[in-house]
């Protein structure tokens, strides 16, 4: 912030008035982007925690639900995304070297990767929608109707479900306290998750459905009697996490198109490539998140 600085060094167009040097501006942009990426990780972090909680409470749902995901498609998508990260990194290098043609090609390839990813996701999603595997209340057999009251046999008791009678020991301990009879004591009827029955062993996964089977077979399986209660929970978290990730890919497409326009107009050169660099960082984090999602849903 020196008043003499602006007259002594040259102040290129891309350098905003409050910076002394391009390096300072670039580093600030980079720090800002890293902070933003931290917020992205935390945004997804909430969902990852949700995943951990539900998986811990209802392992059978995840075991059951993940059969219906197409591992091949997931694997192809993973490869597509990793390749697009590679082309993005290449685009960034080209930008830093002032290679405009390379930059444009790199961005186009990355865009193609993003498009391919979204296309495959579209196929996967529409298959599930056709089968009626929506999240939550719209799951094909509608586990709950919003207008129902608590008395109507809800919640659906299932493995790992938290509806268990109060253990005798608890009731006795209240008596032992010697509380006067006219004091109302409320006892929770909910036991901590760890103490609920876990149904993983009993779950008959003998006629395990493989994803390469026909769709009819799969649907049949989802309707079968031994389907764990609340099977939709798996699809909840699946759609939430991959959906949010998909929105980020979509955002990445927007960023890439914007960078492409800039590249075609020749805005970037070896002195000024900050936006390409930052866009690349963003694209890598989107990738990285998928690399966690893929095994969590499709593989384990």
């Amino acid at each position: 912030m020196t008043t003499t600085a602006s007259t002594t060094h040259d102040h290129p167009d891309f350098l905003a008035h409050h910076w002394d040097t391009p390096k300072q501006q670039f580093e600030a942009g980079k720090l800002g982007m890293w902070l933003f990426l931290a917020t992205e990780v935390l945004l997804f972090g909430g969902l990852f925690v949700g995943y951990a909680v539900w998986r811990g409470n209802h392992p059978e749902l995840f075991k059951f639900g993940s059969q219906y995901l197409d591992t091949t498609m997931g694997a192809i998508n993973t490869v597509v995304l990793i390749l697009s990260s590679l082309t993005m990194a290449w685009a960034v290098t080209c930008a830093q070297r002032g290679n405009r043609k390379g930059l444009i090609i790199g961005l186009l390839l990355t865009l193609a990767g993003a498009g391919g990813f979204l296309g495959i996701k579209y196929v996967e999603y529409s298959h599930k929608f056709n089968e009626g595997w929506f999240p939550g209340a719209y799951f094909y057999d509608k586990p709950s109707d919003r207008s129902r009251t608590w008395d109507d046999n809800l919640p659906v008791p299932g493995a790992g479900q938290l509806v268990v009678p109060v253990p005798d020991t608890e009731a006795r301990s209240i008596e032992e306290l010697g509380l006067p009879a006219d004091i109302l004591v409320e006892i929770s009827t909910v036991v901590p998750p760890g103490q609920g029955p876990s149904g993983l062993e009993e779950l008959a996964l003998t006629d395990t459905v493989h994803t390469d089977d026909h769709a009819e077979h799969e649907m049949h399986a989802l309707q079968r009697e031994d389907r764990p209660a609340n099977a939709h929970m798996f699809f909840n978290i699946y759609f939430m996490m991959t959906g949010l990730h998909g929105l980020h890919v979509l955002g990445g497409v927007g960023v890439m198109i914007w960078l492409l326009i800039g590249a075609v107009k020749g805005r970037f050169n070896e002195k000024y490539f900050t936006p390409v660099d930052l866009g690349g960082l963003y694209w890598h984090i989107v990738d990285l998140i998928w690399i966690f999602l893929f095994p969590l849903f499709y593989l384990i």
């Binding site: 912030m1 600085a5 580093e27 939550g136 209340a137 709950s144």
Partner: protein, 573 residues
């Protein structure tokens, strides 16, 4: 600031240049599209104070309703909506953005010696995000209202009938969250990358340390509320059952998510306030701040600790006893860095030459009120007492002492401190002190009675305390306390209207402010009042921000300036 020119007349001594940031350009668009951090700060200030007025009106409705037993002016539903909107506006629109976005935006770059924040465009964008969030949040009134309380707990928020209201509100909170995140990112980067040579970390005024710690919290905590309200919206729209036990979900998970953000958020609210208090106490007692590094690092310590205490809001939500004990213990430890600050401020006051002018009176009010709030926080953090006090007026009183008695009082003190700098005008000291007195008395009358109400068992968020479910004794006792609490709120309101009056009056009739009316040493007092467009017409003297020995009072100018016998500071290049 690469070179310090020592031959020119010292800054502050010169007559203010004609051109300042207010006169630099004109027309409504020059404001709405401005990238100048000072103008953005002023726009934030005006907007946030407007929201404060609105939130205050809802508070008055609540207080009027509770003033006497029986239904007064609001039906039960209206009452729920009134306290919800009061809470939402005050928390999300006023106190969370308040100090960083308004005063922080204005003074941070100047204190640092920079021309602007790192990302001026992002700064303007986050202002408009705030405006969008504000409009969405307030517009819920027209779409059935929201009656869940500011905490948006499920199942109230997922099963009520006010579908559109909740959806709008979740969207509003999401957008406001991003406004806050962008402000945080901007300030962190500014402090890292725009410190001119000579401005080392330990030459930064403590206000900047506080804003920096706040920035970390804004960046690290806010995304979690973003995903929480997004899940809430999806739950509401598609009934996916994440928080609904009937569908296998877990309502307590919502509380975990919510408090994982909202406990750090209470420090987003208070830390900048603490930063202001460090400035006010030191400047207005004309004495070097005591324990600079302790105060600086306690801000960072608070920021870190605040992430691991959220469970103290859920002692009665079915957490395991072990978790309760752990959270309770960590909660106590947060009080330590807060107390470190309080003792350092007291030590600063000790043997200082204190000027009891308006900003200082607010700082002293803060000390009293914040101490009460912190100590009552310990009552709540103690498991045995919290079972009795949870969800009573005791909690209401506790958080009003922190948020209003702490964060807001500090902000008002800050406004008075920097008002001459921002507007170039002085306000009436007499009216300033009167208003501060009214607010202090009114505040304690309003909220101390609520401590008593709570410890006698009055639950929070109740529309009424009369009827068959209440003993006549309870109705009478609570009626007395509620009555005086309402009276107190009227006194406070009078104080706020008085402030509005004399501040607006000063804009037109106030005396011209000197560059440095209080004797501040940090850089913002070295540029003219109001500052020029580029902040400094010449490079300021960087140095120890609390070394007041380099200043002297100028009777004619009615302000302080650099001592004439000092060409430049010892140790400065």
């Amino acid at each position: 600031m690469t070179t310090i020119d020592t031959t020119k007349p010292t800054p502050g001594a010169e007559t203010p240049p004609v051109d300042n940031y207010l006169t630099h350009s004109s027309g409504i668009m020059s404001w709405l599209g401005t990238l100048d951090h000072k103008r953005i700060g002023v726009m934030y200030l005006v907007s946030i104070l407007t929201a404060f007025f609105l939130g205050g009106m809802f508070a008055m409705l609540v207080r009027l309703e509770l003033m006497f037993p029986g239904e007064q002016i609001l039906s039960q539903d209206q009452y729920n909506m009134a306290f919800t909107l009061h809470g939402v506006i005050m928390v999300f629109l006023v106190i969370i953005p308040s100090v960083p976005a308004s005063l922080g935006n204005f003074v941070l770059p100047i204190m640092l010696g920079a021309k602007d924040v790192a990302f001026p465009r992002l700064n303007l964008f986050s202002y408009y995000l705030w405006v969008t969030g504000a409009v969405l949040a307030v517009s819920t009134v027209f779409f059935g209202g929201v009656d869940t309380g500011w905490t948006l707990y499920v199942p109230y928020s997922t099963t009520g009938t006010e579908m559109n209201g909740i959806l709008l509100l979740t969207f509003a909170v999401f957008v406001l969250g991003f406004s806050s995140i962008f402000t945080g990112i901007n300030f962190i980067v500014t402090i890292h990358r725009l410190r001119p040579p000579g401005m080392t970390w330990f030459r930064m005024p403590l206000f900047l340390w506080a804003i920096y710690a706040t920035g970390i919290l804004q960046v690290m905590a806010t995304p979690v509320i973003g995903i929480t309200v997004a899940l809430l919206a999806v739950e509401r729209l598609f009934g996916i059952g994440i928080f609904d036990p009937a569908l296998g979900g877990d309502p307590v998970l919502f509380q975990h998510f919510f408090w994982f953000y909202s406990h750090p958020a209470v420090y987003i609210m208070i830390l900048p306030g603490m930063g202001i208090i460090s400035e006010l106490i030191s400047v207005h007692s004309h004495k070097h701040i005591f324990g600079y590094k302790f105060i600086a690092f306690s801000s960072v310590a608070i920021a870190i600790f605040s992430f691991i205490v959220w469970g103290h809001h859920m002692f009665l939500s079915g957490q395991s006893p072990l978790m309760n004990v752990v959270f309770s213990a960590i909660t106590f430890s947060v009080a330590i860095p807060s107390a470190v600050k309080v003792f350092n401020w007291l030590a600063t006051l000790y043997k200082g030459s204190i000027s009891f002018n308006t900003p200082m009176l607010y700082a002293l009010s803060f000390l009293v009120l914040f101490t009460i709030s912190g100590l009552t926080g310990l009552h709540l953090g103690t498991l045995a007492t919290d079972i009795h006090l949870h969800d009573t007026y005791f909690v209401v009183a506790h958080f009003h002492y922190t948020m209003m008695g702490g964060a807001l009082i500090a902000m008002i003190g800050g406004i008075h401190h920097w008002w001459p700098k921002i507007t170039g005008r002085m306000y009436s000291e007499f009216l300033g002190r009167t208003a501060c007195g009214l607010i202090f008395v009114g505040f304690n009358l309003t909220f101390f009675t609520q401590f008593m109400l709570g410890s006698k068992g009055m639950p929070r968020r109740y529309h009424d305390y009369d009827g068959p479910n209440w003993t006549p004794e309870a109705t009478e006792l609570f009626g007395t306390y509620h009555f005086w609490s309402s009276i107190g709120s009227f006194v406070m309101a009078a104080g706020f209207f008085l402030i509005a009056f004399y501040l607006l009056h000063s804009l037109f009739r106030g005396k011209k402010a000197p560059a440095n009316p209080w004797g501040g040493r940090s850089l913002e007092w070295q540029c003219a009042s109001p500052p020029p467009h580029d902040n400094f017409s010449e490079p300021p003297h960087v140095g120890d921000p609390y070394d007041f020995t380099v200043l002297e009072w100028d009777e004619q100018e009615q302000g302080y300036h650099w001592r004439h016998d000092l060409k430049h500071e010892p140790g400065e290049a």
